[in-house]
């Protein structure tokens, strides 16, 4: 009896694996089930008949044919639902396992995405920026304590904002610009006269949504190459405008021709490009143009606003 039960389950289990619900059409499954049920019940009935024959022969008795056929018929009929139930249970178990697995996969994917995002954020904040800023603060505590305090709070505001904005998918351009203001205020204290910033912001663009911290790495690059590598410094220009329903943001810096090549300079730019790709697909991109002694980075984004 146990053997029989095992056999029922095993064959049902095998069918369920061979014809998984999600990859097989309903009709095909029904057909397979029907065929399997017929074969299975027939086999079972045949087995019953065989057993009867053996009993008849070995005990030399003659079983009356009518109850024999009756019992075989019962076996044949009950075999069908038994098999079907077993098949249904197998499908249920498989579905349960799959849902567990897909839940785990989704969780892993989410974790991976968060890792990537965190890594991107970490890459965006240059350790030089933090340590040099702290060094400036340390210097200011003697000569200009008030400015030291201002710089400390600006630095704290900058980090607080990057953390809270960084967790969001998109933020209005105005928020991204306010973050940039904090960053630039700090860099202006560090670089003094060497850094001049010119912002030309189209008022129509400030409510447009952008991925958080998308401009910061570009401006950081602009300062690194245009100001930190230059003896006399220069002007960083940031321009936003709307054209044909698209948002254009340009970050411009002077070029130092004989500056040493910095390792990992293209890294920040690449991260920005990848982020644009993830958010906007082919609708968002970034271009770099060198025009004379000015280096331009132009961001193209589709316009979207918070509803």
């Amino acid at each position: 009896m146990m053997l029989l039960y095992g056999e029922v389950n095993l064959s049902a289990w095998y069918l369920c694996r061979a014809f998984p619900l999600e990859r097989t059409s309903v009709w095909k499954i029904l057909l397979v089930a029907a065929v399997a049920v017929t074969i299975f019940s027939s086999l079972w009935t045949l087995l019953g008949w065989g057993v009867m024959s053996i009993i008849e022969q070995s005990f030399s008795v003659t079983l009356s044919p009518l109850p024999l056929i009756q019992s075989l018929l019962i076996v044949y009929i009950t075999g069908k639902p038994l098999f079907l139930i077993s098949l249904a249970i197998s499908y249920l178990i498989a579905a349960f396992e799959r849902s567990n697995e897909s839940e785990r996969n989704a969780y892993e994917a989410r974790l991976l995405a968060q890792h990537a995002e965190l890594k991107a954020l970490r890459m965006q904040i240059d350790p030089h920026f933090l340590f040099n800023s702290l060094n400036s603060i340390s210097a200011l505590t003697m000569t200009n304590p008030e400015l030291a305090r201002t710089m400390t709070t600006t630095l704290a505001d900058f980090f607080r904002k990057s953390l809270s904005y960084g967790a969001k998918e998109t933020i209005p351009l105005s928020e991204e610009l306010s973050l940039l203001h904090h960053y630039l205020d700090i860099e202006k204290i560090r670089f003094g006269k060497r850094l001049t910033v010119q912002l030309t912001i189209d008022s129509e663009t400030v409510t447009d949504l952008v991925p958080p911290l998308i401009l910061q790495p570009l401006v950081e690059n602009a300062i690194k190459h245009g100001i930190a590598d230059s003896l006399d410094g220069g002007t960083i220009t940031i321009t936003t405008q709307k054209k044909n329903g698209r948002l254009f943001i340009t970050v411009e810096n002077p070029v130092e021709s004989d500056a040493p090549k910095k390792k990992g300079a293209g890294m920040g730019m690449e991260i920005v490009r990848q982020r644009l790709q993830t958010v906007y697909g082919n609708n968002g991109d970034l271009k770099t143009v060198v025009n004379g002694n000015r280096h331009h980075v132009i961001l193209f984004l589709p316009t979207s606003q918070r509803t």
């Binding site: 702290l134 603060i137 210097a139 003697m142 003094g192 930190a228 230059s230 003896l231």
Partner: protein, 248 residues
């Protein structure tokens, strides 16, 4: 005990960073600041002209890094390196026991580094910074520019502007844009730093920029001459010819 004050210069492109060191030094009357420089060019000039005994040197600076400043100096003063963040450099400093300060640094750490440096100057211990700089340079990408000091001025020559380099005793003569410049360096040391896909040691005494090559003529058995696009003729040794063939 009365000793004469030691002369020092401060090199950092950020004014605030310089003012911090100035501030810390104000409690050390034994150190006299003779110059403050905002970049590497000024530093090379100041060291050459004023010959200070001690230099506080920032590593990340425009145009010339702190390492390049050391490389350019015939004789380097005792150096305390200052940097915000540079894992590779810090490793090299530790290996050679060279003093360095990580920004931001406190007065105690500053005094400690200064104390070491002053002791070394007084005991006339040989200065090890050149070794550190050589090491820090090798761990990078191929050399993109050659720096040459002429008097107290610094010349920057880009790798693609180089025609060829000739060995002359302890010096090398760098040929670029129709002019030759002398630099104290060994040809073999420079060979290691240059991009080996563009520069070939064609002879014991010559490294050639292959872009400049026009043709090679056989001139005697195992002896060839490279003729450059501007007509200059350079000897090519047998092993030099093999290296050249390999590259072309």
């Amino acid at each position: 005990m009365k000793t004469t004050a030691l002369t020092a210069i401060i090199v950092d492109d950020e004014e605030l960073a310089r003012s911090l060191i100035r501030e810390y030094l104000s409690s050390h009357p034994e150190i006299k600041i003779v110059a403050e420089c905002a970049n590497g060019f000024e530093a090379v000039k100041a060291v050459t002209e004023l010959k200070p005994e001690l230099m506080f040197l920032d590593i990340q600076m425009p145009k010339l890094s702190g390492f390049e400043v050391i490389e350019l100096l015939d004789e380097s003063p005792e150096v305390i390196f200052v940097t915000a963040f540079d894992q590779y450099a810090v490793k090299a400093f530790d290996v050679h026991a060279v003093d360095y300060l990580l920004k931001p640094f406190g007065k105690e750490r500053f005094d400690e580094a200064l104390h070491h440096a002053v002791e070394r100057i007084r005991s006339k211990e040989p200065i090890k910074v050149k070794a550190v700089v050589a090491e820090a340079k090798q761990s990078g990408q191929p050399l993109e520019r050659i720096l040459i000091k002429e008097g107290s001025k610094v010349l920057v020559i880009h790798a693609d502007k180089l025609d060829y380099i000739e060995a002359q005793d302890d010096y090398i003569s760098v040929r670029a844009e129709g002019k030759s410049h002398l630099k104290m360096q060994r040809l073999s040391a420079l060979e290691l730093l240059l991009d080996d896909r563009r520069f070939v040691r064609i002879h014991r005494s010559y490294i050639l920029n292959i872009e400049r090559l026009s043709k090679i003529e056989l001139y005697a058995k195992d002896s060839r001459t490279a003729i450059l696009k501007d007509g200059t003729q350079l000897p090519v040794s047998r092993s030099g010819y093999d290296r050249l063939k390999e590259l072309l």
